[in-house]
């Protein structure tokens, strides 16, 4: 029990939604029924299966950090600050720089309130993100140093799309910090609803409509120029064809996101040069 802060009630209840049935009677139901996606319907927000939500990207918003970035995809909002390279705290010599990573979903970012301290899930995600970014950073350029990446997910609309956003955002922040990179890192996630619908960049309501029992989730991070996969996570049972198809779809989207990132970086360099 956290006594230093005002705590919300232990139990929260979803608001009732009024619906009108055929006879004109008003009913109150707990929530709108979640609809599974079928190929002939559009998705709830009007996208088709392969579309991602529009991306808004800005770098250099945090003055304190060596580099920073803000990444937005509709209701998914992520910021990232990069500190370093700075000298290792420990005296031990290391030829490669250490890339350390922290990710925090802010308490109000998800439907359920999240704890203030970092939970095991976030610690693991931090690991994932560090592993996804490391291949791109020229760690050998910075012996004896540490590069710290701090990510906050301000709002999360789809768990895995938020993680993908965090990876892309962190890579932009690293570039903004002027750290040597061999390539940028872009990531995309997808929800594979059985039998073979590949929903790119799934939102929270889509994730809820397809619990893991009948769907798989795949997240791929890649170096777009080098055509190398820096991270991949799959959960949920898929056969190999579904996995391959989903991976290909993710890589295709990665290429699109890379286009956006690249365009933005170019623009920002031109802008800075003019100032």
């Amino acid at each position: 029990m956290d006594r230093r802060r005002v705590n919300g009630p232990e139990l929260s209840v979803a608001p009732l939604v009024a619906t009108v049935d055929a006879e004109g009677a008003v009913n109150f139901v707990q929530e709108t029924p979640k609809q599974a996606f079928t190929p002939d319907t559009k998705r709830q927000d009007g996208r088709s299966a392969g579309d991602i939500r529009p991306i808004y990207l800005r770098a250099g918003l945090v003055n304190q950090a060596s580099g920073s970035a803000y990444f937005e995809q509709k209701n998914t909002r992520v910021t990232c600050g990069v500190y370093g390279p700075r000298q290792n705290k420990k005296a031990q010599f290391n030829e490669l720089a250490r890339l350390e990573c922290e990710i925090k979903f802010t308490p109000s970012s998800c439907e359920k309130r999240r704890a203030l301290h970092r939970d095991p899930e976030e610690k693991e995600l931090a690991n994932f993100i560090a592993q996804a970014l490391s291949p791109a950073v020229k760690l050998d350029r910075y012996p004896k140093s540490t590069i710290s990446v701090y990510i906050s997910v301000i709002q999360c609309d789809g768990w895995w799309s938020a993680v993908a956003a965090a990876i892309t955002c962190a890579s932009v922040a690293l570039i903004d910090a002027g750290i040597d990179m061999i390539d940028s890192v872009v990531a995309a996630s997808t929800l594979v609803a059985n039998p073979s619908t590949v929903l790119m960049d799934a939102s929270q309501s889509e994730e809820d409509a397809h619990p893991h029992i009948d769907a798989g989730v795949l997240l791929v991070a890649e170096l777009p120029t080098f055509k190398s996969i820096t991270h991949v996570v799959q959960m949920g049972k898929l056969d190999i064809n579904q996995t391959t198809k989903a991976t290909e779809a993710c890589l295709e989207v990665c290429a699109k996101i890379h286009g956006v990132v690249n365009h933005y970086l170019r623009e920002s360099v031109i802008q800075q040069a003019e100032i």
């Binding site: 055509k227 820096t230 049972k237």
Partner: protein
């Protein structure tokens, strides 16, 4: 033994060159596992247990305990629960950085949690006793007794074996009132106990290590120091991929990635028939 994660450039080069020609430092082929020992029913106080030791290195002990738990409001009303924990025993990790050990514990726990909870392996619905009231909870606790590389694969082998070995008591359900209220009794007869529903669908893992433009299985501790990236693929007995997870600080080229997914458990591991029907 006395390795502190230090390795010389010449050793790294020797091991990596070995991958390129297909001769590993201990004489194995690239797709060859070390000999492994598997023991069942090693902890008498548990509902099921197993120990898997690969080579003379990695040693994982898994105990499963089955208990009755309440289904709280807000939880899925008709599913049982699986709670996982993986811990590297302090006696194995003394040479490591304390943070590295914590990170590894967390990584393995989360991995196992995803493997057992998030797809249709263990039949969680059959673990429900009375919807909205009571269910079985499976505590899967793994202890890493010794470390010699390839922890993921060994862990999943031990977990699958322990679940195979687990028995859940039968319950007797009776309605107590007209309003559909139910009560149950746990039948205390070990002869009457049943296997874990869906244990056979729990996957095994094969970790493919990417190094020097090729990949190999079952890395020893030294080989793991020379690996660029690892790809853990878990496959169930129908050949479905249940989870994929990359780890390590390197990248895997897109070209070889699809090929790496085509692992066949029986060929890689040589699993005993009883465990892989």
């Amino acid at each position: 033994m006395a390795t502190t994660g230090l390795i010389s450039p010449a050793e790294i080069n020797y091991i990596r060159e070995g991958f390129a020609v297909g001769i590993r430092a201990d004489g194995r082929a690239l797709r060859q596992y070390r000999e492994y020992l598997l023991g069942l029913d090693v902890i008498s106080h548990s509902s099921g247990s197993a120990r898997c030791r690969i080579g003379f290195g990695t040693d994982v002990l898994v105990g499963v305990k089955v208990e009755v738990s309440n289904i709280e409001p807000g939880e899925v009303p008709n599913r049982g629960k699986v709670v996982c924990n993986v811990e590297c025993s302090p006696s194995t990790t003394q040479n490591w950085d304390s943070r590295a050990a914590d990170e590894l514990n967390n990584e393995l726990t989360q991995f196992l949690h995803r493997c057992l909870n998030d797809y249709d392996g263990i039949d969680l619905e059959k673990l429900c006793i009375i919807p909205n009231q009571s269910c079985w909870i499976l505590y899967v606790d793994a202890l890493v007794l010794d470390f010699g590389g390839n922890l993921y694969d060994t862990l999943l082998m031990a977990v699958r074996a322990a679940l195979f070995n687990t028995r859940i008591p039968k319950v007797h359900i009776e309605e107590t009132g007209d309003d559909g209220e139910k009560e149950f009794d746990v039948i205390d007869d070990p002869e009457e106990a049943e296997p874990v529903p869906g244990w056979a669908d729990v996957p095994l893992a094969v970790t493919l290590n990417w190094a020097n433009q090729t990949y190999f299985v079952d890395a020893s501790e030294m080989e793991e120091h020379c690996t660029d990236a690892k790809l853990t693929v878990t496959v169930n007995k129908n050949g479905h991929i249940c989870a994929i997870q990359k780890s390590g600080l390197g990248a895997i080229p897109q070209k070889v990635y699809p090929e790496m997914l085509t692992v066949r458990i029986r060929q890689e591991w040589g699993v005993p028939l009883a465990l892989w029907p």
